[in-house]
């Protein structure tokens, strides 16, 4: 069966690798969409330079009779977008436009959305592990987490309007790996890493290969729904800082964002209230639904995934520009 998959956000690292991974299957035609062309051309895909905030996306989808959409276009830091308001625009308005286009595409059968576990928020009233149906105890109030929660809301709305489309939302724990660059990897790259006095949060990570594996599985699977994706196991923040061989500087909670921003003058790391809450209280995910329903088992545990990041930073590690296509 020949399929046509539309992938948004292909000009960024993970989106590009996802598109290439899907294109490796000869039965799948991949259309990649982004506002800027990718730095390195993605082999085997048709790139369409389009803004998902623009209705032109509907035309592209209709003409190509797209049957699967992989939405990876939600961005996590204002830095990437050039400002918080642009970021919100791309994330929320972009998703609304994309969903509007999806609704007008009769051939569409599957929608896969890359979301984040940040939608659960973080705080002292949280259970040790979140399952998919749990409501957040501390609703995220800002930034990427809030955008993602709104995106998920619109996606649920779309699912109600088009019951014939199988909708899969994947909530990833922070994605790390040898080449993945996010606000959190920037945080662990600071010369001294600040942490909150008297707290040692539990963190979970997803290896970049596992993130792609889970998305790929969602494209191929018949199952739908919302799934947590994270490497098994837990790391404490203090352990993670030691693994990347950084010095930890302990800061009282009220001064944490100020000190953090002072240590990171270029603003690559994220010291927004949401991020600070996460770095104070941490979060855990129950991933049994992904295992049992989606039949997805990560290759890397949380410690192993983070070790991949730590190893890529040690002297002598291969820092080459090759993109390993899994």
């Amino acid at each position: 069966m020949s399929r046509t998959v539309l992938v948004t956000g292909v000009s960024r690292y993970l989106g590009g690798r996802m598109a290439a991974r899907l294109a490796a299957d000869p039965d799948i035609r991949v259309i990649g969409v982004d506002v800027v062309p990718p730095d390195v051309p993605v082999p085997g895909i048709d790139f369409v330079r389009a803004d998902i905030r623009n209705p032109v996306i509907a035309k592209v989808m209709g003409e190509a009779a797209v049957d699967t959409v992989v939405h990876m276009g939600v961005i996590s830091t204002p830095k990437q977008a050039g400002g918080r308001s642009t970021m919100k625009d791309i994330n929320v308005i972009g998703t609304m436009q994309l969903l509007a286009a999806c609704q007008r595409t009769p051939a569409l059968r599957r929608l896969i959305v890359k979301s984040t576990s940040a939608v659960y928020g973080a705080g002292p009233k949280d259970p040790a592990l979140f399952t998919e149906e749990m409501e957040p105890k501390h609703r995220p109030s800002s930034g990427w987490a809030k955008d993602s929660a709104e995106v998920e809301g619109y996606v649920r709305g779309f699912g109600r309007r088009r019951p014939d489309v199988a909708v899969t939302t994947l909530r990833f724990a922070n994605i790390v790996g040898p080449r993945m660059r996010t606000a959190l990897t920037a945080y662990f790259g600071l010369p001294v890493v600040p942490s909150v006095l008297g707290f040692d949060p539990r963190l979970q990570f997803t290896h970049e290969d596992d993130a792609l594996g889970a998305l790929h599985r969602a494209v191929e699977s018949d199952a739908d729904g919302t799934f947590n994706v994270a490497g098994p196991g837990m790391l404490l923040l203090s352990q993670a800082i030691r693994m990347v061989e950084r010095r930890e500087v302990v800061v009282a909670a009220p001064f944490f964002p100020i000190v953090g921003r002072a240590l990171d003058p270029r603003g690559y790391a994220d010291f927004s209230p949401e991020s600070v809450r996460y770095l104070t209280y941490g979060r855990g995910l129950d991933t049994s639904a992904a295992r049992d329903v989606l039949a997805f088992v990560p290759e890397f545990g949380t410690p192993e995934a983070f070790e991949a990041l730590a190893a890529s930073r040690r002297p002598g590690a291969r820092t080459g520009g090759e993109v390993r296509v899994a």
Partner: protein, 375 residues
């Protein structure tokens, strides 16, 4: 686990410290088995896993060659090592109570800890830190200060989940700490007690961090049921702040037992409830007053005034050396109820009352039997 670092039951200051003697044994070290066990291993071309680094560092004596061979490919399956691996279970919860007793020197232990090379479970429980540091710190209080006497340990299962429900007293929750030491040191299976705490605990700096590392988690249904179904021993103090913050005149009078959430959790998982009575904790800090307005300013549930605190400053924080008795009562089974019993408020209320009544009765029995407060 006989090969583990069993702490002697007789007080012996020389051996109870964190640097107590280790037993050498053949085969792969517990550490190697412990670490090689969590999740899949990355391919050799990728970074060496922390387990491989740990194995290298620990390699010494006759097993050095073995570990050196292991260097290029992390964790090759070694003969005889597979079946003995302590499995963290499907929920990632450690089941081996002695998991932390590793055969390495104290200095190696410190170095490995400093490198971040250890594992915590899904709740943030750090069995190694708990066994070798945290319990060792409170053990003198348990042995020499309160001289705790424990009875009814045969009522606590060795390998299954159970819910320990006890009375709460003594201004700060020393009674829960002592129960944890009792079950770890005196129970033949050296069980870790996983307590359920208020969210105030987890939002307080240091206390929240230590509580998680010592194996405790938030008192909520998902966590309680997850621990119980994984076969863990779970501890609840349903009186909560009403229990530890009650005036001295109310001593040994059980307060209201919350909403009976613990009973629901036990019914859902079929875990037995072990009513537990603790005598002695009430006299550690006789609370003769409560500075309510000060408590409100500090955001605390109460602010204790005792004969010594706050008058003597830090000296007033020293607990009185009362003699303690902990009795684990006969288990109340919960697995013979109907399917929907957990959602039947009447069943829950009745069972809550039964547990409360049993604890109150054994409190009276212990009180009558004790010779004097400071024994």
């Amino acid at each position: 686990m006989p090969d583990a670092d069993v702490i002697p039951l007789v007080p012996d200051p020389e051996e109870s410290g964190p640097s107590g003697s280790r037993t050498a044994h053949d085969g792969p070290s517990k550490a190697a088995r412990l670490i090689g066990n969590t999740g899949p291993q990355p391919a050799p071309s990728r970074a060496r896993s922390i387990s491989a680094r740990a194995a290298d560092r620990r390699a010494s004596g006759p097993s050095a060659q073995d570990a050196a061979d292991a260097r290029p490919a992390p964790e090759p399956p070694r003969p005889g090592s597979a079946p003995a691996v302590p499995d963290p279970g499907p929920d990632g919860i450690w089941s081996d109570p002695e998991i932390a007793a590793l055969d390495e020197s104290f200095w190696e232990f410190v170095q490995r800890r400093m490198a971040g090379d250890y594992r915590v479970d899904d709740f943030g429980f750090d069995p190694e830190l708990t066994d070798r540091v945290l319990l060792a710190l409170v053990r003198p209080l348990y042995r020499s200060w309160f001289r705790v006497e424990v009875s009814g340990l045969e009522n606590v299962p060795s390998d299954a989940g159970a819910l320990v429900v006890a009375n709460h007293s003594g201004v700060i929750a020393l009674d829960s700490l002592m129960t944890q030491v009792a079950l770890h040191d005196e129970h033949p299976a050296h069980r870790h007690l996983r307590m359920l705490g208020a969210n105030l605990v987890f939002q307080t700096p240091f206390i929240g961090e230590l509580a998680r590392k010592a194996g405790h988690t938030l008192a909520c249904h998902p966590d309680a049921e997850r621990l119980l179904s994984a076969g863990e021993l779970v501890g609840v103090w349903p009186e909560g702040f009403k229990g530890i913050g009650k005036p001295f005149s109310q001593r040994y009078k059980l307060q209201r037992f919350g909403r009976g959430g613990f009973v629901t959790a036990a019914l859902r998982t079929g875990a037995p409830i072990i009513p537990t009575a603790i005598v002695g904790a009430e006299e550690t800090y006789p609370m003769i007053g409560n500075a309510k307005s000060l408590a409100r300013v500090l955001g605390l549930p109460y602010f204790p005034v005792t004969p010594t605190f706050p008058w003597l400053g830090p000296m007033g924080m020293l607990p009185l050396p009362s003699k303690w008795f902990i009795h684990f009562g006969e288990p109340i089974p919960t697995d013979d109820y109907d399917e929907g019993a957990a959602d039947d408020p009447m069943v829950v209320f009745n069972l809550t009352d039964e547990v409360r009544e049993q604890i109150q009765q054994s409190l009276y029995r212990l009180l009558v039997a004790r010779p004097s407060v400071f024994g």
